[in-house]
Structure formats: structure tokens, C-alpha cells
């Protein structure tokens, strides 16, 4: 009797845990299903390649895609070199001690700073103090700082996967620390770092709060050339979704466009994540063979 009760309670308990896991899956499926089902109708080739027209009730989102591209490019240019170098220091040069502990605490806290606070920081530092105004540069730099903790962590992970023997071999042959890192560590860590970069990009592409006051525009339908584009305002996919669902004067009418924007944004982030996963996977296989 008692035994069967124990068995029953165990089955019940595990079933409950299973239900929780199912719930998480269900939430994701619901989100994706809704966006794909309703956004799928709106997303056509024209929607992707055209400008918004007729008072933003028709046309497409091309400027927003381009704007997101440029901002993300600036983001990566800022966060990747800085993140890599910080990771090289932490993993290759630094001795365990107070400073490293402090750095790690700082990194963890940076990743916990609310994105809107990054927005304030970007407004105060880049827009006003450095006088970059509302621009791709201001927004990109702000997002670059926001993604920095992730790029540092990802780069570190990548460096950690390089076996210690690689370093020892080079040092034994009389190479300096830097030569060792350059020839025997970095080449093997690059794919891993790339993964981190792409994941950082995916984060940055979807952030809205930090670009609210650093350069996103309601309507900016033309595409300047590089480098001019860096100093102008821009349209961005997440911001476009925000205005199409809250600020537009005919919300009900443009709802399909909002859904389409949401689908494109989610697809973009999905593709980036998938790319990162694939690179990671190939990279791991290579290492197993090595």
C-alpha cells in the first residue's frame, strides 16, 4: 500500500515537472505560431524591398532593415575587438587575484544593467557629451557597450576550449607570450569568438529601449552612402514595430504590417542564432578530430 503510494506520488511529481516543461514549449510555440501565421501573409518580396508609402499604411520596411544593419555593424565593430581583447587578458595574461575577481563582478553587473539605463548613458555620453547627435554612431556605440559583457564571456569560452598543450608547445620553442597567443591560440578560438559575435548581434538587433533617444526615427526613407549614413538618424526594425503597434494613427489598419515587421525581426534573429549554433557545432567536431 505504502509502496504503491510512493510510486504514485513519484509519477505525479514527474508528470508535474513535465507539464512545466511543456508549458515553456507551449509559450514559445504560441508566440512563433501567432507571428508566423499572421505575419506570413504580410511578408512578400515587395514588403522587404520597398519603402513605406501612403502615410506608412502600405509599402514595406526596407529602410528599417538597412538601418538595423548599419547599427548592428557599428555595434559589432565596437564590441568585438574590445570584448576579444578583454577576454585575452582575462584568460591568457591575468593571474587569479583581486583584480580579476573585480572585473568578473563588473562584467556580471554590466549584463544586468537595464537596457533603458544604457539608453540614458548613450544619451548623456555619445549624443550630448561627444556631440554625435542622434545618429547611427550614437545608437551603435550604445548597443556596443550593451553587448560587451556577452562578447567578453563568449570570447572567453572560446579561448578556454583551446587545449593548454598548444600554448606549452609554442612557449617551449621560445616564443613570447604574444607570439604564442597569435599563432597557437587565436586561430583555434576564432570560430568560437565568431559565435559570440553573432549572438551579440542578435541581441543588439532586437533592442529598442537603448535606441529610443539615441537616433531611431519614425520616417527616414532614404539610404545615405557610407560614411555619411553613420551620422544620420535611421529607421530600425524593433522601433518600427513599436511605432506600428502603438504610435500610428490607424493601428487596426496597419496591424498586418506590424505583424510582418515582427516576423522579419524574429526571422532575422532566428537566422543569426542558427548560424551561431552551426558554427559552434562544426567547430566542436573539428576539435574532437584534432
Amino acid at each position: 500500500m505504502r509502496k504503491s503510494w510512493r510510486k504514485l506520488s513519484e509519477a505525479l511529481g514527474f508528470a508535474l515537472l513535465g507539464v512545466a516543461a511543456l508549458l515553456v514549449v507551449a509559450v514559445l510555440v504560441l508566440i512563433l505560431y501567432d507571428i508566423v501565421a499572421k505575419g506570413g501573409k504580410a511578408v512578400t518580396w515587395a514588403f522587404i524591398t520597398q519603402k513605406p508609402t501612403k502615410g506608412m499604411t502600405a509599402g514595406g520596411i526596407w529602410p528599417a532593415i538597412v538601418g538595423t544593419f548599419w547599427v548592428s555593424l557599428v555595434t559589432v565593430t565596437v564590441s568585438v575587438p574590445l570584448g576579444m581583447c578583454a577576454a585575452i587578458y582575462l584568460n591568457e595574461y591575468a593571474r587569479q587575484g583581486r583584480l580579476v575577481r573585480l572585473i568578473r563582478v563588473a562584467i556580471r553587473n554590466l549584463s544586468g544593467v537595464p537596457s533603458i539605463v544604457y539608453g540614458l548613458f548613450g544619451l548623456g555620453l555619445f549624443v550630448l557629451t561627444l556631440n554625435l547627435g542622434l545618429s547611427v554612431l550614437s545608437a551603435g556605440f550604445t548597443l556596443g557597450l550593451l553587448t560587451l559583457p556577452w562578447t567578453i564571456t563568449a570570447s572567453e569560452e572560446a579561448l578556454k576550449t583551446v587545449p593548454f598543450s598548444y600554448r606549452e608547445g609554442a612557449l617551449a620553442l621560445g616564443a613570447t607570450k604574444w607570439q604564442t597567443i597569435r599563432t597557437n591560440v587565436l586561430p583555434y578560438a576564432v570560430p568560437g569568438m565568431l559565435t559570440g559575435t553573432i549572438l551579440g548581434l542578435a541581441r543588439a538587433a532586437g533592442e529598442t529601449a537603448p535606441i529610443l533617444f539615441t537616433g531611431a526615427a519614425f520616417f527616414w526613407p532614404f539610404l545615405a552612402r557610407f560614411p555619411k549614413v553613420l551620422t544620420t538618424q535611421f529607421m530600425a526594425l524593433p522601433y518600427h514595430l513599436f511605432i506600428m503597434s502603438t504610435q500610428h494613427h490607424e493601428i487596426a489598419k496597419v496591424r498586418p504590417l506590424a505583424y510582418g515587421t515582427a516576423l522579419v525581426l524574429v526571422m532575422l534573429i532566428f537566422v543569426l542564432n542558427l548560424g551561431a549554433v552551426l558554427i559552434r557545432y562544426r567547430f566542436r567536431r573539428k576539435f574532437r578530430r584534432a
Binding site: A217, P221, F222, R225, H249, E250
Partner: protein, 294 residues
């Protein structure tokens, strides 16, 4: 991987325009952002040598940007304040005011609400939170739920000054992001009341959006109710809650700024104003614009 990057970069560079155009930056009122965006769109078709960029954020945003000399034109659905003029002067900016359209704020309720007429004082008391039930103004026994705009909108400021008698809004008022969100909410909220620009209560065909009802407004208890839906009620000034929509430029407009504003005030521009649900400039505002040579 390299090939993919190459395709990506080519895809971005090939369609980029030669950027030899003059750039016109316009920022400000959320009430006006859709209108000015549409005007800019048509204007650019006619004048490919000028590129206009329009962003919203609120009247205060536009005015602040003009004060900081970051934009050519600020859209504002309220007049600039003394303080703002002073701040502009400090920065060496001389704001010049042009009215480009007239907006009437309609008081909208859910279509199931039997109330058809409210006085200006009643509306003020409702939004100050002094009247909290529809039964107090001749409606059913139903709590009133308030929908308004956020403090960064000129509409919020105008309504506060003009209808609330410069008193505080009820803290229970839901502050919505935009006119359209208020309309959406009122369509389902049986006890709701909100203020939105007349341009937002009508659909494409000029009919009032289903589920919405526009209340007639009376100056006082003795006067008849006036509907904002009849154009002559606005142009003759009979409707009590109307305002001008302004643009501010730095100094007397010249060059592209002048040509754009001239287009907005032309017959064609004013037709777009009407299409978007606002009213053409009339009366004293026309006189003021004439002085500037428009």
C-alpha cells in the same frame, strides 16, 4: 562565409542613393507625425532634390531639438512656452511660428454609451477625477475610465490648459502612447472616455470608426452641443476644443524649409491635411502666415 558577407554588403550598397540631396529634418508632435510624414512623402515625389526625415516623440521633443539647433522644423501641437523661447534665445535660435493645420480634439466614448452631449466643464471635471460615474452626467451607472495621452504629447498639455483649466489630471487616467491606442481602447471599453484628434476617429471613408461615438461639446450648460465632425463647426470656431498645429523654424524660413512649408500651405498640401482628418488653416492663422509671405 565570405561570399555571404559579400552578398550582404553588396545588397546594402547597390540600392543606396547618391546622397547629394538637401536634408530636411523634422521632429516633434505625435499628433502631427502621420500628417507631416504624408506631406513629406508627396513633397519628395515632386522635389527629388530634397530629402525629408520625420520623427515623432512629442511636441516637447521637437521644440527641444529646435532649441538645440538639431532640426530644421519642429512640429508642435501646442504653442511654445515662454521658458522655451528663453532657452532658444540663449542658444541663439529664433523660433518662427507657422500654423499648418487646425485640429479639433474630439471627445470620444464607446458606441454603447447613451451620453450624447457634455459641457466643457463636465469634461474638465471628468478628467480631473471629480466626476467618476457616468450616472452623474446623465448616463448609466457605470464607473468612468479615463484615457489620455502621455505628458510628452502636445495634446496632453493643450487639453490640460484648455479643458482642465490648468489643473492636474486624475492619476487614474491611463496614459496611452498615441491617439490610435486611445481609439482602440475606447472601442472595447464601455465606460471609457478619451480625447483624440478628429483625424483619428474617422476611417478611410470619413465614417466614424465602428464601436466609437463622438460626443457633442457645449460651451456651457445653456448652449447647444456642437459636433466636431462638421467642418464648418471648426472653421467658424463654434466647436470649443480646437487648436492650431504649428511648425517652428529657426528664423524666417528660407530655401528647402521655405519650399516645404509653402507646399504644406498650398491647395494641394491643405487637401492632404483634410484627407488626414484635420482642417485647413483659416482665420487669424492665415493672416499670420501671410505676414511671413506664405
Amino acid at each position: 562565409m565570405r561570399r555571404i558577407m559579400a552578398i550582404l554588403i553588396a545588397g546594402v550598397f547597390v540600392p543606396t542613393l547618391l546622397f547629394s540631396q538637401e536634408l530636411l529634418q523634422i521632429r516633434g508632435s505625435d499628433t502631427m507625425v502621420n500628417l507631416v510624414q504624408r506631406l513629406a512623402e508627396v513633397y519628395m515625389e515632386k522635389n527629388p532634390q530634397v530629402a525629408c526625415a520625420v520623427s515623432g516623440g512629442g511636441s516637447g521633443v521637437g521644440i527641444a531639438a529646435l532649441i538645440a539647433n538639431r532640426v530644421h522644423i519642429a512640429n508642435a501641437s501646442r504653442e511654445m512656452k515662454e521658458k522655451e523661447y528663453a532657452a532658444a534665445k540663449e542658444n541663439g535660435v529664433i523660433p518662427v511660428e507657422i500654423a499648418i493645420a487646425i485640429d479639433a480634439l474630439s471627445i470620444a466614448v464607446n458606441s454603447s454609451n447613451p451620453v450624447t452631449k457634455l459641457t466643457k466643464d463636465q469634461i474638465g471635471a471628468i478628467f480631473r477625477g471629480e466626476i467618476t460615474n457616468w450616472s452623474e452626467v446623465g448616463g448609466p451607472n457605470l464607473p468612468i475610465s479615463l484615457y489620455g495621452r502621455q505628458p510628452n504629447s502636445g495634446t496632453y498639455v493643450f487639453f490640460q490648459e484648455f479643458v482642465l483649466g490648468n489643473k492636474n489630471y486624475s492619476p487614474r487616467m491611463k496614459q496611452m502612447n498615441g491617439n490610435a491606442q486611445i481609439v482602440e481602447a475606447l472601442r472595447t471599453d464601455k465606460g471609457g472616455i478619451g480625447y483624440v484628434g478628429v483625424g483619428y476617429v474617422r476611417d478611410e471613408q470619413g465614417q466614424v470608426i465602428p464601436g466609437l461615438k463622438v460626443v457633442e461639446v457645449a460651451k456651457d450648460a445653456k448652449s447647444p452641443g456642437v459636433s466636431p465632425l462638421l467642418t464648418e463647426n471648426i472653421t467658424t470656431g463654434r466647436y470649443p476644443i480646437a487648436r492650431a498645429l504649428y511648425q517652428y523654424a529657426n528664423g524666417t524660413p528660407k530655401g528647402a524649409v521655405r519650399s516645404f512649408i509653402a507646399f504644406e500651405l498650398s491647395a494641394e498640401g491643405q487637401k492632404i491635411v483634410e484627407e488626414m482628418g484635420f482642417y485647413p488653416v483659416s482665420g487669424k492663422y492665415l493672416e499670420a502666415n501671410k505676414k511671413l509671405g506664405f
